[in-house]
C-alpha cells in the first residue's frame, strides 16, 4: 500500500434474515426451491395485493441494532424505492429511507496486533430482497425466478471508518459472527445470504476531507471484497497521480477479470423517487420490547475474545477461534465454570483440537457432542494422571457414540485408568530392568536415549496402564 495515500472504506452489508416467513407475506423463507414454486400473489406483485410486515423482521433488526450499540428508533417508517427491473415485481422495493429502525452505533473489531478498532455504524434498516434473473449463454432471453422476492434483509451501513484491508476483513468477519451469534442470519456470502456493496475513496495522508468515493456492487465473497478494494485503491491513486479527478460513480466488481468496471452512466443517474410507503403504517417499538430483546443478547464474540485474552491469558488466535462460534464458546465457558482448577491451555487445545475436529467431521453442534461436565472430567483426569491423554481421546470417542454413558463408566469398561501406585510400579520397573541388563549398562555409560525404550517396556508390562511420568521417575531413580 502506498504511504502517500490513505485508503477510506465504508461497507453496506445486506444480510438475509432467517425468519420462518417472508417480510411482507406468509410464504416460506427458504432457499433453493424449484423456480417460482415459493411465491404468492403478494410477493409477485399481483395487482391489488398489499404488504403486511413480519414482526420477527423488526425484532431481528432491533437485535442487531442493540448488539452494535445503535440507537433504536421507537417509531420508524418504510419507503418505496422505485426502479424498473424484471426481478422486482412491483417495480419498487420497500425499504427505509429517512427513519431506519437503528441508527448511530459502532462495532469493535480485533486486529491482528491485538489492537481494537472501533467502526461506526451509520444505520441498520429493513428491506425486501428481489428475485433472480437467470441469464444463460446461447439464449437471447432471460428467465425470472421470483422465489427470493420478499426474503427479508437488513442493510447494515458502516461509517467510512476503515483504513486498511485488514480492518475491512476484520469488520466483515465480525459482522458475520454477530449475525450468526444472534441467530438471525446464515450469513453465507457464497450462497448470497450476506452480500456487500463497498464504498472506496483515497486521500493524501493528513488530509481531513474525504476523497470522492466510488461504490462497488456485486461483491459476493470475502476475498472478492478485499481484491476489489485493493484494485480500486490502486486505480484511484493512479488517477490522482496522473492529475485526473475521481468521479463519483457505481462500479461493478468483475470477479473473472479481477477488476472493477464503470457501470453505464445511466445506472449512475438513477432517480429512485423515494416516498413513504402508503400501504404500511409506522413501525412502533416499545421500551419493554427493546428491553426484552436486549435481555436475549449474549456477549458478542469479539468481546468474548477480548475477555479470554485479558482475563484468561489465551493467545489471540485461540481466543478468537473459540469465541467465533456461540456453542463452542459456551462449551469452553461452561467447562471452565465446573472446575476452576482446570488447565485452561489444555481445555483450549481440547476444544480447538479433538472436539472441533469431530464437529467438522460430523456436522453436529458442539452442544450435541459432549456436555461440559464430561469434558471437564476428562481433562481433570488427564491433569491428575488418572488417565493418559490418549485414553482421554478414547473416552471422548465413546461419548460421541453414546453420550448417555458416564466418563467413569467408560474408563472402567475399557480399563483405561493408569497405574499410579508407586509400589506396584516399582515392582514392574525392577522386573524390566532385571531382564534388560545390557541396556541398563548402556544407559549408565551415558547413552541416555535408551531411557525411552526402558520406560516403554515398563508401560508395555502394565498393558499400557502405567503412568508414564511416574514410571520415568522410578526408572531414573532406580538406575
Amino acid at each position: 500500500m502506498s504511504s502517500k495515500y490513505e485508503l477510506v472504506v465504508g461497507l453496506e452489508i445486506h444480510a438475509e434474515l432467517s425468519t420462518n416467513s417472508k417480510i411482507y407475506c406468509s410464504c416460506r423463507n427458504k432457499f433453493g426451491l424449484e423456480a417460482n414454486s415459493n411465491c404468492c400473489p403478494i410477493c409477485t406483485g399481483m395487482p391489488g395485493t398489499l404488504p403486511t410486515l413480519n414482526q420477527k423482521v423488526v425484532e431481528y433488526a432491533v437485535k442487531m441494532g442493540l448488539a452494535t450499540n445503535c440507537k433504536i428508533n421507537k417509531i420508524s417508517k418504510q419507503d418505496r424505492k422505485n426502479y424498473f427491473y424484471p426481478d422486482l415485481p412491483k417495480a419498487y422495493q420497500i425499504s427505509q429511507a429517512d427513519i431506519p429502525i437503528c441508527e448511530n452505533g459502532y462495532l469493535d473489531v480485533l486486529l491482528k496486533d491485538g489492537k481494537i478498532k472501533r467502526i461506526g455504524i451509520e444505520r441498520i434498516h429493513i428491506e425486501e430482497d428481489a428475485g433472480k434473473l437467470l441469464k444463460m449463454q446461447n439464449f437471447d432471453e432471460a428467465l425470472v425466478d421470483f422465489n427470493r422476492c420478499g426474503v427479508p434483509l437488513i442493510e447494515i451501513v458502516s461509517k467510512p471508518d476503515m483504513r486498511s484491508l485488514e480492518e475491512v476483513k476484520a469488520y466483515l468477519e465480525t459482522v458475520k459472527s454477530y449475525l450468526i451469534y444472534l441467530n438471525i442470519s446464515d450469513a453465507k456470502m457464497q450462497e448470497g445470504s450476506m452480500r456487500c456493496d463497498v464504498n472506496v475513496s483515497v486521500r493524501p495522508v493528513g488530509q481531513k476531507e474525504l476523497g470522492t468515493r466510488c461504490e462497488m456492487k456485486n461483491v459476493n465473497t470475502f476475498s472478492g471484497a478485499v481484491k476489489a478494494i485493493e484494485y480500486e485503491y490502486r486505480r484511484q491513486i493512479e488517477a490522482l497521480e496522473e492529475g485526473e479527478s475521481i468521479c463519483q460513480e457505481t462500479r461493478k466488481w468483475d470477479e473473472k477479470l479481477s477488476q472493477t468496471v464503470s457501470m453505464r452512466t445511466k445506472e449512475n443517474s438513477k432517480d429512485y423517487r423515494y416516498f413513504p410507503e402508503p400501504d404500511l403504517k409506522n413501525i412502533s417499538i416499545s421500551q419493554e420490547e427493546i428491553e426484552k430483546i436486549s435481555s436475549q443478547i449474549p456477549q458478542m464474540p469479539n468481546h468474548k475474545a477480548i475477555r479470554y485474552i485479558n482475563e484468561l491469558g489465551l493467545r489471540q488466535v485461540e481466543a478468537q477461534l473459540i469465541a467465533e462460534n456461540f456453542e463452542k464458546a459456551r462449551l469452553f465457558e461452561k467447562t471452565l465454570e465446573i472446575n476452576k482448577n482446570i488447565n485452561i491451555k489444555m481445555l483450549s487445545n481440547w476444544i480447538l483440537g479433538t472436539v472441533s475436529e469431530y464437529v467438522n467431521k460430523s456436522h453436529k453442534n458442539y452442544s450435541e457432542i459432549i456436555t461440559p461436565e464430561n469434558l471437564s472430567k476428562i481433562i481433570i483426569y488427564i491433569q491428575s494422571g488418572k488417565i493418559s491423554n490418549s485414553s482421554g481421546k478414547k473416552v471422548f470417542d465413546q461419548i460421541t457414540l453414546d453420550n448417555s454413558r458416564s466418563v467413569d463408566e467408560i474408563i472402567l469398561d475399557l480399563g483405561l485408568e493408569q497405574i499410579s501406585n508407586t509400589d506396584e510400579l516399582e515392582a514392574v520397573v525392577k522386573k524390566v530392568l532385571d531382564s534388560n541388563k545390557k541396556i541398563v549398562d548402556e544407559y549408565k555409560k551415558g547413552k541416555t536415549n535408551v531411557l525411552g525404550y526402558l520406560v516403554g517396556q515398563c508401560i508395555k508390562e502394565t498393558k499400557g496402564k502405567g503412568n508414564p511420568s511416574i514410571i520415568r521417575d522410578i526408572v531414573t531413580g532406580t538406575i
Binding site: P41, P47, N82, F84, A91, D279, K281
Partner: protein, 487 residues
Amino acid sequence: MNLYQMPASALSKMIKSKEISALELSESVFSRIKSVEPKIQAYITLCEKTAIETAKSVDQKISRGENLSPLAGIPIGIKDNICTKGTLTTCGSKMLYNFVPPFDATVVDRLKNADAVITGKLNMDEFAMGSSTETSYFKTTKNPYNLNFVPGGSSGGSAAAVASGEAILSLGSDTGGSIRQPASYCGVVGLKPTYGAISRYGLVAFASSLDQIGPIAKCVDDAALLYLSIYGHDELDSTSARISPFSWEIENQDISMLKGLKIGIPREYFSDQIDKEVKDATLNVLKILEENGSQTFEISLPNTKYALSAYHIISSAEASSNLARFDGVRYGYRAKNYKTLTQMYENTRAEGFGNEVKTRIMLGTYVLSSGYYDAYYRRAKLLQNKISSEFSEAFKKCDVILTPTVPTTAFEIGCEIDDPVKMRSNDMNTASSNIAGVPAISLPCGLSKDGLPMGFQLICRHFEEEKLLKIAKCCENLIGEIKLPNI
C-alpha cells in the same frame, strides 16, 4: 314494480319469506341487463352462469331453513378494479385486457361468504383515473337519465348499473370522488367510507393513501346493508382499522334526531363554480333540515382551495409508483415489437396505457423526481395535514358538514375529455374528504330542469359511518325519491 327496480332491503325480506326466489330476482336483473345494456354499456364482463348458480344455491339454503345474511341472493355488480378470482379484472385498461386474478379481493370474499350474487364487472375510467368512464379502453357508459351524457366516473359503470336496474347494488372505489360524483350524476346513493374502514386488499391501487371501496345503492338502507357486509379489519391490509360494528334497522329512521343537529355549511364549497341549480337544490335540502329542527350555520375550511392540488400531487405520485408494475413481464399486455428489455417496457407501457393514465404517471414521476419532491410532494403532504386538522376543528362546532357533491349535473359525452383541468374540477368538493380520510355520502336531491339528477354530500368525522348513514336516511325520507330514469 319490477324486481330489478326494488331496493335490496325489501328484496332481502322477500327472499327470506319465500315471497320470491333468489333465482327469480337474478333472472329479473339479467333480463333487464339484456334489454338495456346495449344502451347503457355498464358492464365489461357479465357472470350470468355463476350468478344463476349462486342464486339457486341460495334458494336451496332457504329451503333447508339455513340462516342467511341480508345480502343472500342479492345481485351485486363489482367495479372492474376489484379482483375476482377466475374472472377477468381489467381496470378498464388495455394493459389488463386479459388479466384473470388468482385470488378474490377481501370485499369479494366477504360478499361471496354472504351468498351475494355477483352479476359481473363494471366499466370504469382506466385505472380509476377520470370522471366520465370515457378513459375506459373498452367503452363509455351512458347516463341512464340521458344517453348522450356521461354517468360520471370513475365508478360510472357501478352508478349507471344501479340506476338502470342492471344491478341491485354495486361496489365502486373512490380516490377523489369516484363513488360520489357518478352517484350524484346518476341519481343514486354513494358512500365513501372512512379511510381504513374497508379492506383495500384486492383493489387495484390508484392512490393507496386515498383509495376506498364503497357501496353504490338506490337508497341509504341498501348502502348501509352493503357497507356492513364488507367493512372492518382485514389482516391482509395493514391500513385497515379495527372498528366496532353497529346494527342497522331497515325501518323508518326517527327524524327526531335532526332536532338540534348542528350542520356546518362550508362557504368554500358553495363558490361561483357551482351551478345555480345545483346550489339551489342543496340549499333546499338545508331548508328542509332547518324546518325539522336542525341548526345550520356557515363554517370555513379555507385550505379547501388547495385540496384539489394536494389531491392531484399525492394521487399522481402514488399512481406513478403503483402502476409501475404494469410492465408486460408477469401479466397483461406486452408489446409485440421490442428487442431489448427497455424497449419492451417503454413500448408496452406506451401502447397499454391510455393518455390520461400516461399523463398522470408522468406527472407523478415528475413530482417525486429528485429536486422537485420538496416543492410538490412534501408540500402536498403538509397541506394534507392542514386540511385534516381543519376538518377536525370544524367538527368541534358541527355534527355534520353539508355541501353540493359536484359543481354541476352530468356533462355531455366528449365535451370535457380533452380538457384535463376542467375534467378535474369535478372533484373540487369531493377530493378533500379523501385527503382528510373522513367518510362522505352523496344523496340525490332532485332533477335539474334538463332532467338530470343532482346530488348533495354529507361529511362526518372519522369512523362515524353510523351517524352519517342515519342522518342521510332522515334526509332521504324528507326529500323523497327522484323519478326513475326512462331508458
